[in-house]
């Protein structure tokens, strides 16, 4: 270790050809740092000056640690030393994402690739650095936009179902009103209602609760929230989503529901997964609506390390010409359809490390959509 902690005396001034090289390096868009075996900075180009807020004149001769966060800095000498001793490469020729430190203390992500050169003055290491912040920002913006879109699609689904949901709310409200008015009237007439009033009030309370549930389910679904992950059983989530979808239906449809046994839990954003179920079930209902006995099969099962949900209808299936664009946004055959349901659903599934697949059916067989989600990791990792 001695040789690294006490480098030899000051560096000699650059020669003429070195000076020419430096001016070329200064035109590079990427940061370039060359260090010697002792981690002393030999070259620090213009892009680096800007990236780290340190003047080249100040940087040259110093240990390269000055551009690293403290926790890297501590280990860097050791890495370099161990590489020189053992030849085991940790970063050379590989390139990876690391973090840099600006003179003002800001820590930021960098892509670093390191090359090695043997020179008459000993080994030198050339680092090429790219500030990853602009890329990270656009990734973040994209993620934000995507979650915005996912939310909007949810609102639009509820909006589509809005009139029907208002209808559904009318049912408990009607019953509630009539129960209460029945008591009110009997009371006004001095009828003895002591025997029945308890029972009627219970029914009224039941109806109020039913109205509350409808509102609650809608609210959970449309409220805008940060995406989250919870380890959950899939089946109860699916059942809730089916209920929500049926709320929005004018015509009844036969639903055949089968739950797999001993399904492993999944790590999901519950509302987003319910959004997929709502989309698939709405599509299935719409597809089967024209049939004499419209019916949907909704099944769950486990298949090597995944949990699968299948939604199969007995509609006409998917036309071969619609298949290539099926999962693209704005691909819709419906007059009022946005064509967002499947695009959003597949995006959500893939964000969860899963996928959304289709068996198009046809020739008398309805379409079958499969949502595949990875089973949650063993409880130890779940936290």
């Amino acid at each position: 270790m001695r040789e690294f902690s006490s480098p030899p005396g000051p560096l000699p001034p650059p020669t003429v050809s070195e000076a020419r090289l430096l001016s070329v390096l200064d035109t590079a868009a990427d940061g370039i740092i060359v260090i010697d075996e002792h981690a002393r900075i030999l070259i620090f180009n213009k892009a680096c000056e800007k990236m780290f807020g340190i003047a080249a004149a100040e940087a040259i001769g110093q240990n390269v640690k000055i551009v690293m966060p403290i926790e890297y800095a501590r280990e860097h000498d050791e890495y370099l030393g161990s590489y020189i001793r053992t030849g085991v490469k940790k970063i050379i020729g590989i390139g990876r994402e690391v973090r840099g430190r600006h003179a003002d203390g800001t820590i930021f992500p960098l892509e670093l690739s390191v090359g090695e050169a043997a020179t008459p003055d000993g080994r030198q290491f050339i680092g090429i650095l790219r500030d990853l912040r602009p890329r990270k920002e656009s990734e973040q913006r994209l993620a934000d936009l995507q979650s915005e879109l996912v939310h909007l699609a949810r609102v639009s689904a509820i909006d589509e179902m809005g009139a029907a949901i208002a209808h559904e709310l009318n049912q408990p409200l009607t019953a509630l009103m009539l129960y209460l008015q029945a008591i009110r009237r009997a009371h006004a007439k001095g009828v003895d209602i002591v025997k029945v009033v308890g029972e009627i009030l219970d029914k009224a309370a039941g109806e109020a609760e039913r109205a509350g549930h409808i509102i609650q389910r809608m609210r959970q679904f449309v409220e805008k929230r940060e995406p989250e992950r919870h380890v959950r059983e899939l089946d109860p989530l699916i059942d809730e989503a089916i209920d929500l979808t049926l709320l929005g239906q004018r015509h009844r449809i036969r639903i055949d529901r089968k739950q797999g046994t001993n399904l492993p839990p999944v790590s999901v954003d519950p509302v987003q997964v319910q959004q997929i179920v709502v989309n698939l079930v709405r599509n299935a209902i719409e597809a089967a609506a024209g049939m004499t006995d419209p019916a949907i099969h909704i099944r769950t099962r486990s298949a090597d390390g995944t949990v699968v949900l299948e939604v199969q209808d007995n509609g006409p299936g998917i036309a071969p010409e619609a298949l290539p664009k099926l999962f693209e946004a704005f691909a819709s055959s419906k007059r009022r359809g946005m064509g967002l349901g499947l695009a959003i659903s597949r995006t959500i599934a893939q964000n969860h490390g899963g996928d959304l697949l289709v068996d198009p059916g046809g020739n008398g067989k309805g379409a079958c959509f499969s949502l595949v989600l990875p089973a949650a990791a063993a409880p130890a990792d779940v936290g």
């Binding site: 709310l169 408990p172 409200l173 009103m177 009539l178 129960y179 008015q181 029945a182 009237r185």
Partner: protein, 115 residues
């Protein structure tokens, strides 16, 4: 006279029957049009309350059938659906009354007063 209630929502059907019963009407409730068809047809003195959104045979079709009987009963259509849905469903049918949900007891007893 009797009041027939064709409504698939158990809560609405039960509370409606309670109100009508309290006013003194004889009430027969059916969960769908099919079960009404299995019973003796309503008479001209009867009233039939029909929910527009029924499972199976649509409410509008039942209304059409009732209005075409030789001595048609009075028909009250109840619905929580939008006006465009109602117009589309009824298309020219003229029920005696159309009442939007939520219902209230006063409206019901005004059109179907105590005997």
């Amino acid at each position: 006279m009797r009041v027939h209630v064709v409504e698939d929502d158990a809560g609405v059907s039960d509370s409606l029957s309670l109100i009508l019963g309290n006013v003194g009407h004889k009430v027969v409730a059916y969960p769908d049009a099919e079960s009404l068809f299995k019973a003796p047809p309503p008479e001209g003195r009867d009233a039939v309350i029909v929910d527009l959104s029924l499972p199976g045979i649509p409410g509008a079709q039942l209304v059409r059938w009732l209005l075409n009987l030789a001595t048609p009963p009075r028909v009250m259509v109840i619905t929580g659906q939008s006006q465009s849905f109602i117009d589309h469903q009824l298309r020219g049918l003229q029920p005696t009354w159309l009442v939007r949900k939520p219902l209230d007891a006063d409206t019901i007893t005004r059109v179907l007063p105590a005997e």
